[in-house]
């Protein structure tokens, strides 16, 4: 890609911390046209992620979907090769001067003692190093050398010397051929400019050895959740099998202990770490899959599976996997001398002490702020909260208290991957707003006209790369070259020292021209590297870039068969022959492209819709905001106070004022979207209001149509005036100071209409809403008795503080099981609530002045809109995003996004983050201006197509349609992502894929087995 500046003064963003959040923000901003400096304290990007390879609730990895352009490799790789992202590994930020839009950042670059320009990543140094220390991302289960690469696929690939561990024995120096190791290398400092800063340094696991009662670090078979996670990764030393440290055996019984370093003020962790219930559940399921006769017990206080799809996941764990959840915390873990088994002190069903024996105990450790949080906060000039996480203001969850500095991910509050992706996108939106008008714009590079090679006989040029000797030292390249020269249609062979370097590329280009080549094979490193540069050389020489084929003699040959040079040479010859066989048959192909219509349509004028619209407008895009009702505001109009402080009504009014004042936003009140046609990036919609219809053209659409409070059908709701919903209580309290006069006893019932058979999801917010109102009642009348009847209190994250506060204020919490739900009876003019109290095993009758039902969040009737847009609803009726985990703001369809309650229950701050994140995703699309398709798209031979539709059925991207007349398949090349599944579905070969045509692959097979 080549870029030009849109306005002068290009926009630059510094992203601090290169985990999921940092990579997501960087990719979005870079894709949008900002220059990104992605800094991390660690020697490689990726954060904690390389530890994992299965994430909940899908039990897959799938982070590749995070990239704004699909399909994509891992975000690690995408970040490392994006032309606008500069990696600054092993660096720390030392100071931040200036104003939003114009910061100067001082950076300390820690010395790697390895020269990045010289290191070729060969790893000889590490092999020679005699020092072994625990590997950071091995969770203590693995070691590394003093000179090392943090993990095999780490970026950058340059090795790093850990001076703390190094004995300076000099072994590495001896074996390093490029002479890249420099023990004299010093830390150095630099400054760079950035218009905005995003802080995403993540979080750190709790040190489980601080809770001595669990015996971590003492008993061999007690692991932390992080260690167990690592063990379950297929890349771990055990290849994903759970194993006891003491004897390497697979466990037959496994205990998880929750809340280790969470919800525990005795170790200054008063908050809930939010993700441990889910990760333990996931680990329990994975362990069970791999050790089928495993019995697993999860000891917990509340199971907090509050995210989208999480409750079902939890139910599956219990039902399908037979995982036992016990509401009892462990007081002590002891080790049995002989078996090294563990006993856990818990209570039995009667609440009496009991010892349970397990083969393996996993401590579900919580998460704290990163170790360097304080130093970072100080150098950047932002404040931290009492727990050391970044402080943010109500209703602006990504804003730190320093303008222009944003925060996202675990450093703001412990959170899962979907929320991290949301917040990172939202923070990116913040940065993009600061830098509006300073984007770099892509322009097509200038190339000579492509030569028409269709009538030419193949003239294949084979270029064999020595890779600075890396390949040549194993493979006998002269013999390979000689062999290649004999192959059919090979017109020219040459050896290059380094095909990826400027000189090599120049030779490639000139040889093509001089020799009149029309197909090119480069035999060297893997196709993943330098493909763009080599394709570019072909285009400069007047050839279509699809006329290039690669033969992987390095990663796939020289490096993996070092000990068998003869065999490696034979293999290399064959790989070249295969590449030539295919190259002979290659035909030119270009990716399609199309303009993106400017502007966005936002459907739904609640908080989410308005925040999304405003963010887009601030980034310079025009927006049509369509609201069904006659006023903006949605659900927030009914919210009068919040747990975190801040005045919702004041915020709402401010938001409405800004929307109305924005020149780029057109508000359509009392309006409906009645039709949408067009294709990705170019939509035409009809907006109807009051009989009149308006036609709008837009490039993207954001759906934010909100949700509803569930209307209860139980607990005498609607039959007794003193049975209210939480929202009604809030309205009553806010509208009338005397509303609670005479009210002394309030009973709140949780999970009304949530986690029930007909609405089996958790509504996420009801627990904190109940806490909020309970606290408000206590504030208004400290003498009031407030009892909350709950199944699991799900006050995740810092909301746990308010749960504790409510208890301290005397609010009484009583647990109930769904099998023994409370009963509400009318007794004269009052209410009675009958409940079983499990701690004392007593049946209580509570006389109440008010019964308040904590009702869930229900989706609106979204069916019509879903059909109109051609997007799916999930099984609960909420809109279904493209990927639960890493694309929580996107629909699968290109250019369509979603946010707010129509996606899933969430609180207003989460809606704001998601709305701004969705706006950022949409803005990337709008900023791109042109949509580019894949070049390896299929093509249809209409003579052969018999209109059976199998290809159409198999396409996951709806890129194929049947011609209405003939039924013959047509291709929408912009939607096609080039998987080739259609070509397998078609029995007649009528649809085939460019660059992967059947004749080409079969020609490779012809020579592969010689």
């Amino acid at each position: 890609m080549s870029v030009t500046e849109e306005g002068g003064n290009e926009g630059e963003v510094l992203v601090v911390g290169a985990g999921i959040a940092g990579m997501q923000a960087s990719l979005l901003l870079a894709e949008m046209g900002f220059r990104v400096h992605l800094l991390d304290r660690a020697p490689a990007i990726g954060g904690l992620f390389p530890l994992l390879d299965r994430t909940f609730p899908t039990n897959t990895c799938g982070v590749c979907f995070m990239s704004p352009t699909l399909p994509a490799l891992c975000p690690f790789i995408e970040c490392s090769r994006h032309p606008l992202i500069e990696l600054l590994p092993y660096a720390e930020i030392e100071g931040l001067e200036g104003e939003p839009g114009d910061f100067q950042v001082s950076i300390l670059h820690k010395s790697r003692y390895v020269n990045a320009d010289l290191c070729n990543g060969c790893g000889e140094c590490a092999a020679a190093c005699p020092v072994e220390v625990p590997r950071e991302l091995g969770a203590g289960l693995e070691t590394r050398r003093a000179i090392y690469r943090p993990y095999p696929q780490a970026f950058p690939e340059t090795f790093v010397l850990d001076m703390g561990a190094c004995t300076e024995c000099g072994e590495c120096l001896k074996v390093c051929r490029p002479g890249a190791i420099d023990l004299e290398m010093k830390d150095h400092r630099s400054t760079l400019s950035a218009g905005a800063v995003i802080l995403t340094p993540g979080f750190e696991p709790f040190d489980a050895s601080l809770k001595t009662e669990f015996g971590y670090g003492v008993h061999q078979n007690v692991l932390t959740g992080i260690q167990f996670e690592r063990m379950l990764s297929l890349t771990s030393p055990s290849l994903g099998l759970p194993a006891r440290t003491s004897d390497g055996q697979a466990p037959r019984s496994l205990a998880f202990i929750q809340c280790v370093g969470s919800r525990d003020i005795s170790c200054d962790r008063g908050y809930c770490s939010s993700i441990c219930c889910m990760y333990a559940t996931k680990q329990a399921m994975l362990a069970k899959e791999r050790v089928p006769d495993l019995n697993t017990t999860v000891f917990h206080m509340d199971v907090r599976t509050f995210g989208k799809g999480f409750e079902r996941y939890y139910e599956r764990a219990k039902g399908e996997y037979g995982i036992l959840y016990r509401r009892s915390m462990i007081s002590r873990v002891r080790e049995l001398t002989d078996s090294k088994n563990l006993t856990a002190s818990c209570v039995d069903d009667e609440g009496r002490p009991q010892e349970e024996e397990f083969d393996l105990v996993v401590l579900s450790v919580g998460f704290g702020p990163p170790a360097a949080a304080e130093a970072l906060a100080e150098s950047v000039g932002v404040s931290l909260n009492e727990y050391g996480f970044a402080r943010t203001e109500p209703f602006s969850p990504q804003n730190t208290d320093r303008p222009g500095v944003f925060v996202a991910g675990g450093f703001r509050e412990p959170q899962d991957i979907p929320q991290t992706v949301v917040e990172a996108s939202s923070a990116a939106a913040g940065a993009a707003e600061v830098l509006a008008g300073r984007r770099l714009v892509r322009t097509a590079a200038e190339y000579p006209d492509q030569r028409d090679v269709s009538d030419e006989d193949p003239r294949v040029g084979v270029f064999i790369c020595r890779c600075d000797g890396t390949i040549a030292e194993v493979v006998d390249l002269p013999s390979v070259t000689e062999f290649a020269d004999q192959l059919l249609d090979v017109a020219h062979t040459a050896q290059l020292e380094a095909a990826c370097q400027a000189e090599g590329l120049k030779e490639l280009k000139s040889t093509i021209q001089e020799e009149g080549l029309n197909r090119v094979v480069v035999a060297g490193c893997t196709h993943r590297l330098y493909g763009e540069a080599m394709g570019d050389a072909l285009r400069q020489a007047g050839l279509n870039s699809c006329l290039l084929e690669r033969a992987d003699l390095r990663e796939g040959c020289a490096w993996v068969h070092r000990d068998q040079p003869e065999q490696a040479t034979l293999k290399a010859r064959q790989l070249v022959a295969m590449a030539v066989a295919k190259a002979r048959l290659l035909t030119p192909s270009e990716g399609a492209d199309a303009e993106v219509s400017p502007g966005a349509l936002v459907v739904g004028g609640g908080v989410a819709g308005m925040e999304a619209a405003l963010s887009l407008a601030r980034q310079g895009f025009f927006v049509h905001l369509v609201e069904k009702e006659m006023e903006l505001g949605g659900n927030l109009r009914h919210i009068h106070y919040t747990l975190g402080g801040g005045d919702p009504q004041e915020y709402l009014q401010g938001l409405i004022d800004q929307v109305e004042a924005s020149e780029l936003i057109t508000v359509h009140l009392g309006s409906d979207l009645t039709q949408m046609t067009g294709e990705p990036g170019r939509y035409t919609s009809l907006i109807s209001a009051d009989g009149s219809t308006e036609e709008l053209v837009h490039g993207v659409i954001v759906v934010s149509v909100g949700g509803d409070e569930v209307e209860p059908t139980e607990y005498l709701y609607g039959q007794h005036p003193q049975v209210l919903t939480q929202r009604e209580l809030e309205e009553r309290i806010s509208s009338d100071a005397q509303a609670l006069a005479g009210v002394k006893n309030v009973v709140m019932i949780q999970c009304v209409g949530s986690r029930e058979p007909d609405r089996p999801y958790c509504s996420r917010i009801c627990c904190s809403v109940a806490i909020k109102n309970a606290l408000r009642i206590k504030e208004l009348n400290p003498e009031a008795n407030v009892l909350v009847l709950f199944r699991d209190m799900r006050t995740y994250g810092f909301q746990e503080d308010y749960y504790r506060q409510a208890r301290e204020q005397g609010v009484i919490f009583i647990h109930y099981e769904p099998e023994a739900k409370p009963r509400v009876e009318a007794a004269k003019d009052r209410l009675r609530v009958l409940i079983h109290e499990p701690i004392l095993d007593a049946d209580l009758t509570l006389e109440a002045d008010l019964v308040v039902l904590s009702t869930g969040v229900a989706p609106r009737d979204n069916q019509g809109l879903a059909e109109l847009l051609g997007v799916p609803l999930d099984e609960d009726g909420f809109f279904e995003e493209a990927n639960t985990k890493v694309r929580p703001m996107d629909f699968e369809a290109v250019g369509m996004y979603l946010c707010g309650l129509c996606h899933s229950p969430k609180n207003s701050e989460e809606s704001i983050s998601q709305a701004r994140g969705a706006a950022m995703r949409a803005a990337v699309m709008l900023a791109r201006q042109r949509l580019e398709g894949q070049s390896a798209v299929p093509f249809v031979n209409p003579r052969l197509c018999i209109a059976c539709g199998l290809c159409i059925d198999t396409c996951p991207f709806e890129a194929l349609v049947a011609d209405e007349e003939t039924g013959i398949t047509e291709i929408a090349p912009l939607l096609c992502q080039g998987c080739g599944a259609c070509t397998v579905a078609c029995p007649s070969g009528a649809i085939q894929q460019r660059v992967f045509e059947k004749t080409q692959l079969m020609a490779m097979l012809d020579v592969a087995l010689d």
Partner: protein
């Protein structure tokens, strides 16, 4: 399911536990009959109806308990860790977490009349592990006081309570726990080869050695003060003791629910110390230490102006200063952390440092150590109520010590030494139980 709250008025009996089990079976199943009904007229206190009998649901009860114990019980979210880890929980009719719930729901009578509150060892395992920093020990301490104050007559029929009353009366009259002649407090010094100069009430001494009742009056623990004063003497420490003017530290009163009457004895001890002009108080008894360190300032509501040190700390200090020389002791040794010293005062390192300084000594930790050390069973006056429970606990701890294959169990508490020695005798085990001061004294190189 957990011990059921029912309508029975629980009579307080030593063996009430079994009775309770029976009573539980008779609880009617229907909700309204068996349950508690909260009622509240405007402004009037809530009432609780049990089996048709109405009593006041005393919201003040929780406030009172919280005030008296200093514990924020409302914070509890019933993780049940306290119940799971409490060494006496199995013997308790109401488990620790249930006691908290009963306070919260105002079930005062049942709670105050339950033996549960007297089975607490005050070992603080609960408090050390509670994620909400609630100490059941502090709770039961307050409840014992309330029970004694308010239920006194109802409880008097119970033997254990009688014993505690007697004990408390003894303390208040004789100033020691064994109703001995208090002037004979230094009787242990009579067998010393040389009695250190100024052992009794020497003005101007640097340290006051507060010997404590157990070591003063129980001959099997005489060796503790004997060894300690010789060490101090050897090390050239300027110290003295109060002799007959040393009164019981008051801790047994607190445990007996008579803390409210401890003030006089506390004032006496502090006045004596001040009178001598010492700058620090040293104890060999962790309970005395804990009293001096925490309860004295708390109860008197003033700073003592005195440094309070435990013998283990002092020994470590003397070692650091090179004032004590230790010779080789080629023996395997384990250390038992006294609850009052460990969990209550975080004093884990000093005794280990001292043992670690002894050449040739092989130190072995028990599987439960430091913060997780098991109670020897001797705490909280539980012996008065349930000697069997104490026996079980000391046996359990003793077994852990045996597993280390140590030849000597070192502790730093006269009470622990008593309990574990008794167990060693029962077991006929060839293991010595020794206080750290005795062990150090034996290890001291006094050849010069």
């Amino acid at each position: 399911m957990p011990g059921r709250v029912n309508g029975e008025v629980l009579t307080f009996a030593l063996f009430v536990c079994a009775a309770l089990q029976l009573a539980r079976l008779s609880v009617p199943a229907t909700v309204t009959e068996a349950g508690c009904v909260f009622q509240a007229e405007d402004g009037s206190p809530m009432e609780i109806i049990i089996d048709g009998a109405t009593s006041t649901l005393d919201l003040a009860f929780k406030a009172e308990v919280e005030g008296a114990s200093g514990e924020d019980l409302s914070r509890c979210y019933y993780c049940l860790k306290c119940s799971a880890g409490c060494p006496s929980a199995l013997a308790m009719p109401y488990q620790p977490a249930q006691m908290v719930r009963m306070v919260q729901l105002g079930l005062k009578d049942q709670l105050l009349e339950s033996p549960s509150i007297w089975y607490c060892l005050h070992c603080e395992t609960c408090g050390a592990r509670c994620p909400n920093e609630i100490s059941i020990a502090r709770l039961t301490q307050a409840l014992r006081q309330m029970a004694m104050d308010e239920k006194g007559d109802a409880l008097l029929g119970e033997a254990g309570i009688q014993a505690l009353r007697t004990l408390s009366e003894n303390i208040l009259t004789t100033h020691n726990i064994s109703a001995d002649d208090n002037s004979r407090r230094l009787i242990w010094s009579e067998n010393l080869e040389s009695v250190p100069e100024g052992l009794e009430s020497k003005k101007g001494a640097h340290s006051l050695y507060f010997v404590g009742c157990v070591s003063s009056f129980f001959p099997m623990t005489y060796i503790i003060p004997q060894a300690f004063v010789q060490i101090l003497d050897e090390a050239g420490e300027s110290f003295t003791a109060l002799g007959g003017e040393e009164w019981c530290c008051g801790y047994p009163l607190l445990m007996a629910g008579m803390g409210s009457r401890a003030e006089e004895t506390i004032r006496h001890n502090v006045a004596q110390a001040r009178d001598l002009g010492v700058s620090r108080v040293v104890t060999t008894c962790p309970a005395c230490y804990h009293m001096w360190k925490h309860f004295y300032p708390e109860i008197l509501d003033e700073e003592l102006g005195l440094e309070v040190t435990h013998s283990t700390q002092l020994l470590a200090e003397l070692l650091d200063q090179g004032r004590v020389q230790l010779k080789e002791v080629p023996r395997a040794v384990t250390y038992h952390d006294p609850c009052d010293l460990g969990r209550k005062n975080d004093l884990y390192d000093a005794p280990r440092r001292v043992l670690g300084a002894i050449p040739e000594l092989s130190f072995r930790e028990m599987s439960d150590n430091r913060q997780d050390a098991l109670c020897c069973g001797g705490g909280g006056n539980v012996e008065t109520f349930n000697p069997d429970l104490v026996g079980e606990l000391s046996e359990r701890r003793f077994q852990q010590a045996l597993e280390t294959e140590a030849q000597v169990i070192v502790s730093a508490c006269p009470q622990c030494e008593r309990t574990l020695t008794a167990e060693a005798r029962r077991e006929k085990a060839r293991v010595k139980v020794m206080d750290l001061v005795e062990f150090v004294w034996r290890a001291m190189d006094t050849s010069e």
